[in-house]
């Protein structure tokens, strides 16, 4: 995956960090101090669809073939800039009974982006 730079137009990963202190959540979330959310943004021209980030596979090959066959009628090719690698967010927080809860929320941190 590609990280966004100033003026990026192609599909890339934009870093975005949410500081829990900034949003006033530091009193109930014990750890971590923030959430590295990140997100995917940018264009996905047809020739980029299926790469990068999505490993070559039978499914990718079939999708690319379908796109190539239907490209003439759809300008965008219905290809999206989407997360291809995500990680869990570990949280340690107080619930409303003042119990301490530790959990791992899957697929919360975007690590890489690619065109679907």
């Amino acid at each position: 995956g590609i990280d966004c730079q100033a003026g990026s137009r192609m599909c890339c990963r934009q870093e975005f960090f949410v500081d829990f202190r900034e949003i006033g959540w530091q009193d109930w979330i014990i750890q971590p101090e923030g959430y590295a959310m990140n997100f995917c943004t940018g264009q996905c021209p047809l020739h980029v669809a299926g790469m990068p980030g999505i490993a070559a596979s039978f499914h990718t090959a079939v999708l690319n073939l379908l796109k190539a066959n239907t490209a003439a009628g759809t300008a965008g090719g219905n290809s999206c800039c989407v997360p291809t690698v995500q990680q869990a967010l570990s949280l340690l927080y107080y619930d409303r009974n003042s119990n301490i809860v530790k959990t791992d929320i899957p697929d919360m941190v975007v690590e890489a982006c690619g065109c679907s």
């Binding site: 975005f16 949410v18 219905n78 999206c80 409303r96 009974n97 003042s98």
Partner: protein, 218 residues
């Protein structure tokens, strides 16, 4: 969202200007975390826990075995520490109440493991016998009855752990666990420390969400 015969939201747009979208993104992040925790709004802390109790409890909380997260279709797991509130007590018994937020999780909670942690202060070279009773609501009414009990012999000062059985796990799943400590011997008065913030008894539970009513489609 990809709609038929249209482009998805991110397509055809250059990278967004972060500053102009900052509020939107912050709200999105907040909503995303609350949704995944099955909370409609951020909790308001009604019974703050002292830092000493927090430190002690966290030192005793063991992380889940590596790999658990990715197994079983990545079902989200929680570990919960619930601190005791002292209920009706006298010199012969001490009752402890533990509250769990069963209503916060869609589909109910499935308690996989629960442990009771308590601190005992004993004179040197002495032992202490204690019965730990687990209470559960009676099938016929709301009165609490003894569902199981565990006889323990403690021979040293310090933290002690009791792995709780299915009756206690069921009580935790329903949001409320009551334990009663009944000393069998009186070598030491008030051997279990209740009121010192750093030694407050607690229950740790490993929880899986929505386990009981989950329907799996293949």
């Amino acid at each position: 969202t990809l709609r038929p015969s249209s482009q998805c939201a991110t397509c055809g747009w250059p990278a967004v200007d972060l500053e102009s979208h900052r509020e939107l993104l912050l709200n999105l992040a907040k909503r995303s975390i609350l949704d995944k925790l099955h909370l409609s709004q951020r909790p308001t802390l009604s019974r703050p826990v002292s830092r000493a109790a927090l430190r002690t409890a966290l030192q005793h909380l063991r992380g889940p075995p590596q790999g658990d997260l990715l197994e079983d279709n990545r079902r989200q797991e929680y570990e919960i520490i619930s601190f005791a509130e002292t209920g009706f007590s006298n010199i012969n018994q001490t009752r402890l109440d533990f509250h769990f937020s069963s209503d916060e999780t869609a589909g109910g909670m499935e308690i996989q493991q629960a442990s009771f942690m308590f601190f005992v202060q004993l004179p040197p070279n002495s032992t202490w016998d204690i019965n730990v009773r687990v209470f559960a609501p009676s099938p016929h009414n709301t009165n609490l009855t003894v569902a199981s009990q565990h006889a323990l012999q403690v021979d040293a000062s310090g933290w002690h752990q009791l792995i709780l059985g299915p009756e206690a796990q069921a009580a935790c799943s329903h949001g409320h666990l009551t334990l009663e400590l009944v000393p069998e011997s009186h070598v030491a008065q008030s051997s279990v420390i209740m009121n010192d913030a750093a030694y407050r008894p607690f229950v740790t539970a490993r929880v899986r969400v929505g386990g009981k009513h989950r329907v799996r489609r293949r």
